[in-house]
């Protein structure tokens, strides 16, 4: 369906950007005079509608420089005349009014994923996964979806600044050049480059070339969410650094030791898809006996998406996890001296025997937050179980500089302290905010005489540097990247830079003193060289075009390396205990703390992205901020209770007591939150919040969003630590949570069963037994209506959606995809607290079992059900919500007067109301992101999921002009396209060969609240689990 056009030169968005600096400035003044002043523009998604503070902040930051910039333009030359002319030659592949798709790659935290980006008249508007890319397979995660909003973020660094004053690139270079020349004389002795994880082969080559030229210079790498322990684990096991690649397709039994492989980490999209391929049950009632599923054991502390999907989940304190891993290893014959307490022993035995009986078809995955010892154990176990070469293989690391991140930063800090660093170039990242608290990075940084930060935003680090150089977004600059398996792809820009950003390639080239080579040439020449080594100069053009078109460079995936456990790999098992398990030393009743990257804003780099701030965190459903998450039992110990309702109550937020956490003399305050299923005696905090210089959304000093947990994090204890002291203060804080109610209240919402039950009674979803138990019908006996029934018979289409609750991992990718596709506004914390978030698609999370020991977690995505007997339709007094010919429940925004009766009468509560003017019409750059195919809703109207009706109509028009019928799978709704596990299927129920029809005939199929006679078009497949009968939960 996606028309991947060969890339034509990126289209200049003349309306925003003029490459010439002077004109750019003039443009700013022009806007200042003609329209709203820049300082008054509303941000992309303003968190609080009447937040005067942010405006003032913005004026302080930008106002003066803009005014100056404007004046310079004013005095130098007259306004350039901008002519608007129609295309004389239609650009290749471009039909006005139709979007184009370009293949590109997004790199984030060292994970490169191939994408197809939709472009409307030169504006990138929506990100989809590239089906040809091994890390995507057509899927995307929340960050990819949200990256489009970051691209249009008006808070992005727009110009070069010197301590806050606007400068030009040439001025910057004029200031940096003498320092660079001095470094050349000293062979780079005082030069340090600090980067994030780099997986771009071109950039790596450039940096290495620079280091070759200046051999005394050093390249440091820091990433707050690092994989240090995982790499160290492979060094312990194999004596070299390798990257494990898992093949979940072949794994019947998986043991995850604190690994959230479904949700984060390199290759997680691919892993989730592969893993769920083995869980998807499509058996008919007749062959239910032959249905199979893999089995997942998860040992973890906080509840992750992976843990929520586990057949058996064991919540352990971080200090217990290594012991648990050792115990499993011991049971499987690895002498690791592990033993666990009595209650866990049945688990260990059962897991060990389950793994042992699936040799070669099982898998042990250790999480990045676990110490190297656990990784060593996982490698040893996989080796022992014969999984190497089957479910796990090892490839060379794609990370260009796989050094220990914390160690590398520590070395840099020490060098700065010793005064050895004269010129520091920080490429990306935000170490001033993310560095471990004990390194005193900011203090040592002051000793560097010239500090330069290159990044997307003017952030905390920029404030500590002399110069800030604006970085380009991946949608506006050339680069390349290697995916988790080594596959390389090109980062292809879709537009000219919106602002004055330049890519890291340009900056390094500048430092290397080479003449100004465009980024495209740098990347292209790298690949020309690469091609030339193997094939000579012939055919490069074709190779390059293919690489751009496909979004993947053929034959670049790494070949698996044959590595074996090195001699003496067991020694650390015996000696390394105390070292790698510091929590051991804490007293038995002390608390432990776990640091985790935030599920939506990660390490804080996404803090200024409204979509992600407002996106409920998958399991806790918290939005806009973080909290000290603990189990009900721990909360009881700390005398923490869920506070009184604030505003929206369960759908909105609570007033929670503020806790003071102190760790090794460092203190911070944050509100508490209670999460069933969390391990007792542990507090989990998400990193990335409490930013001091993030922007209008992400907060600034004095109006922070959430609390900065980096303040407690030290280089010694990056992921978890014992010795936490928690004191409840008298204060309380409002915590926004979109679904605080966790129980299903015994209602029949997510239907579930074990695989064994399904095999025995395949029709369990609909059996009378249920009706007997619950005293109500599962489904109505035929459709009852007073009104003339609609006629949906073929050849009409009967659009329907089915969501597979077995495979849904609750990653929320679909929610952000829906937000991007359908121009859904961000409402801010104040409105979320009132329960007014606008997500058309939400993911309900239910917890089953007692609160202190929940047995199951369920995710249930709930879009509009498009009921055939829709309760919303007949209560609307003005016919603003009506049935379309093909049975869609349409919303006519222009007709809506806003009585909200439809929402009251919607049993699924999927309707969202514009209580205020939520849509951002004011921010010019934000407007460019809007999908032109979807109306932007104004104040006072109701809105809801439309099944991406714009995509349906587009397919209908296409099929009509091509005189064919719509092919099944031709229409992908935004949520469906983003889903990494294909849990959502959409299509024509009337089409007997369609997937949706096949799923509908599954014995697992049921309608949510169908007993209300709504006849929902969106339906579900019941959730199946495959527990081990030996473990009694």
């Amino acid at each position: 369906m996606h028309d991947k056009s060969e890339h034509s030169p990126p289209i200049d968005l003349g309306s925003i950007h003029h490459p010439d600096h002077g004109r750019k400035h003039w443009r700013a003044l022009e806007e200042t005079l003609a329209g709203r002043p820049e300082s008054e523009r509303h941000c992309a998604d303003q968190p609080e509608p009447n937040d005067g503070m942010s405006r003032r902040q913005f004026v302080t930051l930008m106002g003066a420089s803009l005014a100056l910039a404007g004046l310079s333009g004013c005095s130098v030359k007259p306004a350039p005349s901008t002519e608007i002319v129609p295309y004389v030659h239609q650009p290749q592949g471009m039909t006005p009014g139709r979007p184009q798709y370009f293949a590109t790659t997004m790199t984030f935290a060292g994970n490169a994923v191939g994408l197809l980006v939709e472009s409307h008249a030169g504006r990138p508007t929506k990100v989809e996964g590239n089906p040809d890319h091994p890390a995507s397979r057509g899927a995307t995660d929340t960050f990819h979806q949200a990256s489009i909003l970051t691209f249009y973020d008006p808070d992005r660094a727009q110009t070069v600044t010197q301590t806050g004053q606007t400068r030009t690139w040439s001025e910057a270079w004029a200031a940096i050049r003498p320092a660079m020349l001095r470094q050349r004389e000293s062979r780079g002795r005082g030069l340090r480059v600090l980067t994030e994880t780099i997986v771009s082969p071109t950039l790596a080559q450039q940096l290495e070339a620079l280091l070759r030229e200046l051999p005394e210079a050093k390249w440091h790498v820091y990433e707050p969410v690092s994989r240090d322990a995982a790499l160290a684990g492979t060094r312990l096991a194999f004596g070299e650094l390798v990257n494990p690649i898992y093949d979940f397709h072949r794994a019947d039994v998986v043991l995850s030791i604190d690994a959230d492989f479904l949700q984060c980490g390199p290759g997680s999209l691919r892993y989730a898809a592969d893993f769920m391929d083995r869980r998807r049950v499509r058996a008919t009632a007749a062959d239910a006996k032959r249905a199979t599923m893999n089995r997942l054991y998860v040992v973890e502390t906080a509840v992750s998406c992976t843990g929520a999907k586990a057949d058996h989940r064991l919540a352990l304190r971080p200090s217990q996890i290594e012991d648990f891993a050792r115990a499993v290893a011991t049971k499987l014959g690895i002498h690791s001296g592990g033993a666990v307490a009595g209650s866990l022993d049945p688990w260990v035995t059962a897991i060990a025997s389950d793994l042992g009986s699936h040799r070669g078809h099982c898998l042990v995955v250790a999480g990045d937050r676990q110490p190297p010892m656990v990784h060593l154990l996982a490698h040893a176990l996989n080796d022992r179980l014969g999984n190497v070469g089957s479910t796990v293989s090892y490839v060379p690391v794609v990370d260009a500089r796989p050094v220990d991140r914390v160690e590398s930063l520590r070395n840099l800090t020490r060098a700065m302290d010793r005064g050895e660093v004269e010129l520091l170039l920080i490429l990306g990242g935000n170490p001033a905010y993310t560095a471990p608290a004990d390194l005193d990075f900011v203090k040592q940084l002051q000793k560097v005489s010239l500090r330069i930060h290159h990044g997307l935003y003017v952030n905390e680090t920029s404030y500590q540097c002399h110069w800030h150089l604006p970085e380009t977004h991946y949608l506006e600059a050339w680069s390349d990247a290697r995916a988790f398996d080594g596959t390389a792809s090109i980062v292809q820009p879709l537009v000219q830079p919106l602002y004055q950003g330049r890519s890291a390639h340009d900056v390094i080239a500048m430092f290397a003193g080479s003449t100004e080579t465009p980024g495209r040439e740098i990347v292209r020449s790298y690949w020309q060289h690469h091609w030339g080594r193997q094939h000579g100069q012939e055919g490069f053009e074709q190779f390059w075009q293919d690489a751009l078109h496909d979004g993947v460079i053929a034959n670049t995936a790494s070949t698996p390396k044959h590595v074996g456990l090195k001699d003496g790999w067991q020694t650390p098992l015996a000696s390394g205990r105390a070292k790698s398990s510091p929590a051991e030393q804490t007293e038995s009743d002390g608390l432990e703390i776990v640091f985790q990257p935030d599920p939506t804003i990660y390490d804080g780099s996404w803090a200024n992205n409204g979509w992600l701030q407002e996106l409920p965190k998958p399991v806790t459903k918290l939005a806009w901020g973080n909290a000290a998450i603990m189990s009900p039992k721990t909360a009881g110990r700390l005398d923490v209770t869920i506070g009184p309702y604030a505003h929206g109550g369960e759908h909105g937020g609570y007033s929670m007591p503020v806790l003071e956490l102190s760790l090794d003399g460092r203190k911070m305050q944050m509100p508490a939150w209670i999460m069933p299923g969390h391990a007792d005696g542990v507090v989990t905090v998400y990193l990335g919040h409490g930013r001091e210089q993030a922007g209008r959304i992400g907060g600034a000093a004095g109006r922070n969003v959430g609390f900065n947990a980096y303040r407690l994090r030290t280089a010694e204890h990056v992921w978890h630590s014992g010795g936490l002291h928690v004191v409840k203060t008298a204060e309380s804080q409002l915590v926004a949570c979109t679904q605080a109610h966790q129980s299903m209240e015994g209602r029949d919402l997510v239907r579930s069963a074990t695989l064994a039950r399904f095999r025995a009674s395949p029709n369990f979803v609909m059996t009378d037994e249920f009706e007997h138990e619950h005293g109500e019908l599962r489904e109505p006996r035929g459709s009852l209506t007073l009104y003339e029934p609609f006629d949906y018979a073929a050849p009409k289409h009967r659009w329907g959606m089915i969501i597979d609750l077995t495979t849904c991992i609750g990653c929320h990718s679909c929610v952000v995809a829906c937000q991007a596709e359908n121009n859904i506004p961000v409402v801010g914390k104040g409105q979320v607290l009132r329960g007014r978030e606008m997500h058309w698609l939400r993911i309900d999370r239910y917890v089953e079992g007692p609160a202190d020991k929940p047995t199951h977690f369920f995710f249930q995505p709930v879009p509009c059900m498009h009921c055939e007997n829709a309760p919303c339709e007949y209560v609307c007094p003005v016919e603003a919500t009506v049935h379309s010919d093909d049975g869609l429940n349409d919303m006519v925004y222009n007709r809506c007067v806003g009585t909200r009766f439809c929402s009251n009468n919607c049993p699924y509560k999927v309707r969202r109301f514009n209580f205020h003017l939520y849509a951002d019409y004011a921010t010019p750059s934000r407007r460019l992101q809007f999908n032109p195919d979807v109306t932007v809703r104004s104040r006072g109207v109701m809105e809801k999921c439309s099944y991406c009706v714009q995509r349906i109509r587009r397919a209908e028009i296409d099929s009509r002009t091509e005189q064919r019928s719509i092919v099944d799978g031709e229409i992908l709704t935004a949520c469906q396209a983003a889903c990494p596990v294909q849990a959502i299927v959409f299509g024509d129920i009337n089409d007997t060969r369609s997937t949706v029809r096949r799923w509908k005939e599954s014995p697992l199929h049921y309608g949510l609240l169908a007993d209300l006679n709504t006849n929902p078009r969106t339906t579900y497949l019941a959730a199946l689990r495959n527990p081990n009968p030996e473990i009694d939960t």
């Binding site: 679904q739 309900d844 003005v878 007709r895 007067v897 909200r900 009251n904 209580f915 205020h916």
Partner: protein, 470 residues
């Protein structure tokens, strides 16, 4: 034309005391003194400081309403506490409450007219005025609660370029018709009944402006027998027209809830239960208005303690009906065995974290408190009646609030359960509407005959006159 000219033919004229031994007819008054007393309230009584003060305070409340509405129109209904799932809150509660209060007026004027309940005479004008003003206040809320109030007219069936009718299946459209009809008929009834009295004022006023205004309002009433004949006929017909409205309006309003699928809204008991509740609160309001009026205007001989007594009995009766509604709802929801519905009812009375306190307060106000009215001695104590009436009005407001919030905040999917918490603007709009009511009522009490002179005169023994035309 003098007061004595009203001696027209009246049948079934009672004596000083009603057949039940109650005193409904002004004692010690003759035709002239009735007229002088009541018209004097308008024409000769000076504007007192008390009235001015009260009027000022009420206007202050109206000002609050203006501010609240202006802010609402500028910023949107988001200033209220409404949210998803509780998309209706104060506005609809206030609407139903005001409409309910209005019910007593029609009941007294129309229903009791047809029933030949003569005791209505002293209070019908007050009750009708109350109805008009209450319905006006009620009408504010459906308009203001719209997301886009400026398109309210899309709810009306009018020819338009979009060739669109309203959606007649929606109970909200029925509301529009029911409330509009109710308001029109009530207004006509009130105004028509006032015509002879307005003519009296026209004739007695000393001021030229008054003569012009009352003269225009009196529509040329000359007190001729033909006028009276047509007046009586039309009044009776309007009474007949208005009587079904007593039942229909609140039944239709109740279908805003009963026609939905929301648990504990979807109830067949709602129409009668709402009507009973409406009359209940309406009589409480009439009592609350009559008691100060009879003191301030020295009308104890017109609005007698027996009037209060009989209204108190009606309050008690409707309280029992309403309480029966509560009981039947609760017990039938249990009996029906519908999980979700039972949960909602159970939650209403047990969810102390949320709304149970409201539920129990309203049970106390609407069911327990009115039981004191079983005792004649208490029925005849004005302070008791004032307290009971106030509590009933509070209770009936809370009842509507409880119905709306408990059902919406916890319906089918626990994932969407929420909580409605009013904002300052919810309160401002509500109290502002009370201000509108008070201002309108104070103006009425100042510039219109608050008792029907013609009907009161007809009750007097001297009104018996020769039987003409019989």
């Amino acid at each position: 034309m003098g007061a004595s000219a009203t001696e027209t033919v009246k049948d079934d004229m009672p004596g000083q005391r009603g057949s039940d031994g109650m005193q409904y007819v002004p004692m010690g008054h003759d035709l002239t003194s009735v007229t002088e007393k009541i018209s004097g309230l308008v024409l000769t009584r000076p504007i007192g400081l008390g009235w001015l003060g009260f009027f000022g305070v009420s206007n202050g409340l109206v000002l609050v309403l203006f501010i609240a509405v202006a802010y609402l129109l500028v910023v949107g209904v988001g200033i209220w506490g409404i949210q998803i799932p509780t998309a209706w809150g104060f506005a609809i509660t206030d609407f139903v409450w005001w409409i309910g209060i209005g019910h007593a007026g029609t009941l007294i004027s129309a229903f009791l007219l047809l029933m030949h309940q003569k005791w209505r005479t002293s209070i019908n004008r007050i009750a009708e005025a109350m109805t008009i003003f209450a319905v006006m206040c009620a009408g504010l809320f459906p308009l203001l609660h719209l997301g886009r109030p400026w398109f309210f007219y899309w709810l009306l069936p009018y020819p338009n370029t979009m060739a669109l009718w309203p959606q007649f299946r929606s109970a909200l459209i029925w509301d529009v018709f029911a409330v509009a009809t109710y308001f029109t008929v009530s207004l006509l009834f009130w105004y028509m009944g006032m015509i002879p009295d307005l003519a009296t004022l026209r004739d007695r006023t000393a001021s030229r402006v008054g003569r012009i205004i009352y003269g225009m309002l009196a529509l040329g009433w000359r007190n001729s027998a033909r006028h009276w004949h047509r007046f009586e006929m039309a009044y009776l017909l309007l009474g007949g027209l208005a009587t079904p409205l007593v039942v229909s309006v609140h039944s239709v309003v109740s279908s805003d809830f009963a026609m939905s699928v929301v648990p504990a809204w979807h109830e067949t008991v709602f129409p009668p239960y709402f009507v009973a509740g409406a009359i209940f609160s309406g009589f409480a309001m009439v009592l609350l208005l009559c008691i100060p009026i009879r003191h301030v205007y020295h009308l104890k001989d017109f609005i007698t303690i027996d009037h209060l007594d009989v209204m108190a009995k009606l309050v008690l009766a409707t309280s029992l009906l309403t309480s029966y509604g509560y009981l039947s709802e609760q017990s039938l929801s249990w009996y029906a065995g519908d999980n979700v519905e039972w949960y909602t009812y159970f939650f209403r009375i047990t969810g102390f974290g949320q709304y149970a306190i409201i539920t129990w307060t309203l049970f106390f106000c609407n069911t327990i408190v009115p039981q004191v009215l079983w005792f004649r001695s208490l029925r005849r104590k004005e302070w008791v009646l004032v307290i009971v009436s106030l509590l009933v009005l509070v209770g009936m407001w809370l009842e509507r609030y409880m119905i709306i919030t408990t059902s919406l905040s916890r319906d089918y999917l626990p994932s969407s359960w929420g909580f409605f918490k009013p904002t300052i603007w919810d309160l401002a709009t509500y109290f502002g509407s009370v201000g509108v009511f008070l201002v309108a009522f104070l103006l009425f009490a100042r510039f219109a005959p608050i008792l029907s002179m013609s009907e009161t005169r007809a009750l007097l023994p001297g009104a018996h006159g020769p039987e003409v035309g019989r």
